[in-house]
Assembly symmetry: C2
Homo-oligomer: 367 residues x 2
């Protein structure tokens, strides 16, 4: 076994999920993620935790959804009970075809998502962590050879997370103290209110309210968004290639949208529910182990010198205790990314915190 | 997709498990059983049932068990809750190496089994069905080419189950009316009491209290076993090849045992608990679609003109309503098979019901 697979498992179980003796763990395994699943099972066993393994196959999900009449039962009791009694949910993505969901009608997908709200909430109440095993299909999505992609993925995942967490604390401090964020670049001049929000130092660990491996971003939950934003990083949403999305906000809601490719996907998302027209997340990518876009949101949104915004659901972790229910509600959470490495700036309360991809606390930052 | 995969899925969902709208289904998928899982997911969706898919990997289970200190938590709440809220559990076996469990110490396996008694009971309280997807690993175990093995497996699985159920009803009638069964062949002269038991016409459907696909046997729960029995069909138990097992019973319990190969496996089983020394099942194989031994208990024990006996746990379905708790209790249920095609007879209350592989109601039976 590639020693990096073992290291990945160790980071996931110990740093990210902090699994302990007696924890009830659900491990979700993609069809090509078997090797990592074996390594993770070993670590979970070593910790004395209890393992239940689920199979996350796009082909199985597609076959089921397409055959169903679309009137899905709400929160089936067996699956709800599983997650309500789980302490940790580890999801290891890694299928054989990233386009497998492309012919499931959006309304079917939305109906299934809406029918599973309590299950999703129960899952998110656990110490959940999502990661991927580098597969050939993800290499293809990234337009890389398999070996090259493995190097890329492990560079992003096997970081010194403690050091990165210290760096990111600077950004968290700025956001926690600030009231208004402004992002400026070509096609973009967007202001968002972040008063009374708690920025999350997303250091790939539940101990930091961070649930992705890799992570390496600081995120908060904006509101009262005004202005326009241009997402120049191409991505695949719901199996479709979406490029050059442009959104205009008024009073916190999207009032105009366009895209150079598959614009209707954006329209479908916005039509999901009221919350889908508002932002649920502003994230600032700070993982410089990620040095190229690979058409995978898990990696792309963490890349150093990018900003991403999500339409839809906000995370309760961005709100002070007792105010989690003020988070924007939606069945969707769709991230879109803009490159901030050139001709750009991020301002907080009128002060520049990043210019042309360099943070204020870094060498080379020009006042 | 091989049309037989679709047919297999249809038999499993409709004939075997009788899945209906709103049923909460757990589908357990072996690592090489993906294709059948996709076909089953489609049928489950068509019926409007709710699908939760689990991953049954021998490698994952081995890694977990070997790394664990062996002091397993009892019935982890998340998994117990899943099965307690499930209506149907479909298990599709099909791994990549039937020997994967061979280096898990028997005491670890036993400890894990004992720690999961409530989970197993909850699972068995559902309409559960076990089947296998014909894989290359099973073909190897059977010493067959893959294509030959597929033909073999589908001949056994895709039968006219209604017609076979009618045939098997003859055998059930004999056993239900009888008090004592005697089996006689070389090295074998065994008598068992079956009074007040309910024989199960195991026609591969929960509607017949039958939980295997393929099935094709009539089984009951014997007691007060006396005499000796020789199992000449070789099989793999707990990853080890076991041959020519000979057991001697007194007062219903094994008092002597021997085997030509891996005798210690038999000893380990007998030492599990008190119930492991008693019989939990007498089964009479009647599926003539199975015409050779393939070292897989699911198929071998159903073969026409064989008898199998299981050490350990009995099925509640063999007892009159309200008397299910009289069933022999054990954490194990290990089947062993003897070939009845030649120089043999089965008697019930002194009357021969099968001689040299021919039943009383068949052509060629000699009084």
């Amino acid at each position: 076994m590639d020693p990096r697979v073992e290291e990945h498992a160790e980071v996931l179980v110990d740093w990210s999920a902090r699994i302990e003796d007696g924890d009830n763990v659900v491990l979700s395994v993609g069809p090509d993620a078997h090797e990592l699943a074996v390594a993770v099972a070993e670590k979970v066993g070593e910790r004395g935790a209890n393992l239940h393994t689920t199979y996350a196959s796009g082909e199985v999900g597609r076959a089921y959804s397409l055959a169903h009449d679309g009137d899905f039962d709400e929160d089936p009791a067996h699956e709800l009970a599983l997650y309500e009694n789980a302490d940790v949910v580890l999801s290891i993505g890694g299928g054989r075809n990233t386009s497998e969901g492309s012919d499931v009608p959006p309304e079917t997908r939305t109906a299934r998502g809406k029918a599973r709200e309590q299950i999703r909430e129960a899952r998110m109440d656990t110490d959940w962590v999502s990661t991927v095993h580098p597969t050939r299909s993800l290499a293809q999505q990234a337009n890389m050879s398999y070996a090259e992609y493995q190097d890329f993925a492990y560079d992003a995942i096997l970081r010194d997370w403690e050091t990165l967490a210290d760096e990111m604390a600077n950004m968290k401090d700025v956001l926690d103290a600030g009231s208004e964020v402004r992002i400026v670049k070509e096609g973009t001049d967007l202001t968002m209110n972040i008063e009374n929000r708690v920025a999350v130092n997303s250091a790939a660990s539940v101990a930091y309210d961070s649930h992705n491996l890799p992570s390496g971003e600081v995120f908060t939950a904006p509101e009262a968004t005004e202005g326009e934003v241009f997402f120049d990083v191409p991505m695949t949403i719901r199996g479709e290639r979406v490029q050059d999305v442009h959104l205009t906000f008024e009073d916190g809601e999207v009032v105009e949208y366009s895209a150079a490719q598959n614009e209707e996907v954006v329209g479908d998302i916005l039509d999901t529910d009221a919350g889908a027209k508002r932002l649920g997340e502003l994230g600032i990518g700070m993982n410089r182990g990620i040095d190229q876009f690979t058409d995978s949101i898990l990696f792309d949104e963490k890349m150093g010198d990018t900003v991403h915004l999500a339409l839809g659901r906000a995370y309760g972790s961005n709100f002070p205790e007792g105010h989690e229910d003020e988070a924007n509600d939606s069945t969707v959470h769709v991230d879109m990314i803009t490159d901030m490495s050139e001709d750009s700036r991020i301002e907080v309360d009128g002060e520049v915190v990043q210019r042309n991809g360099t943070f204020r606390w870094e060498d080379g930052f020009e006042e």
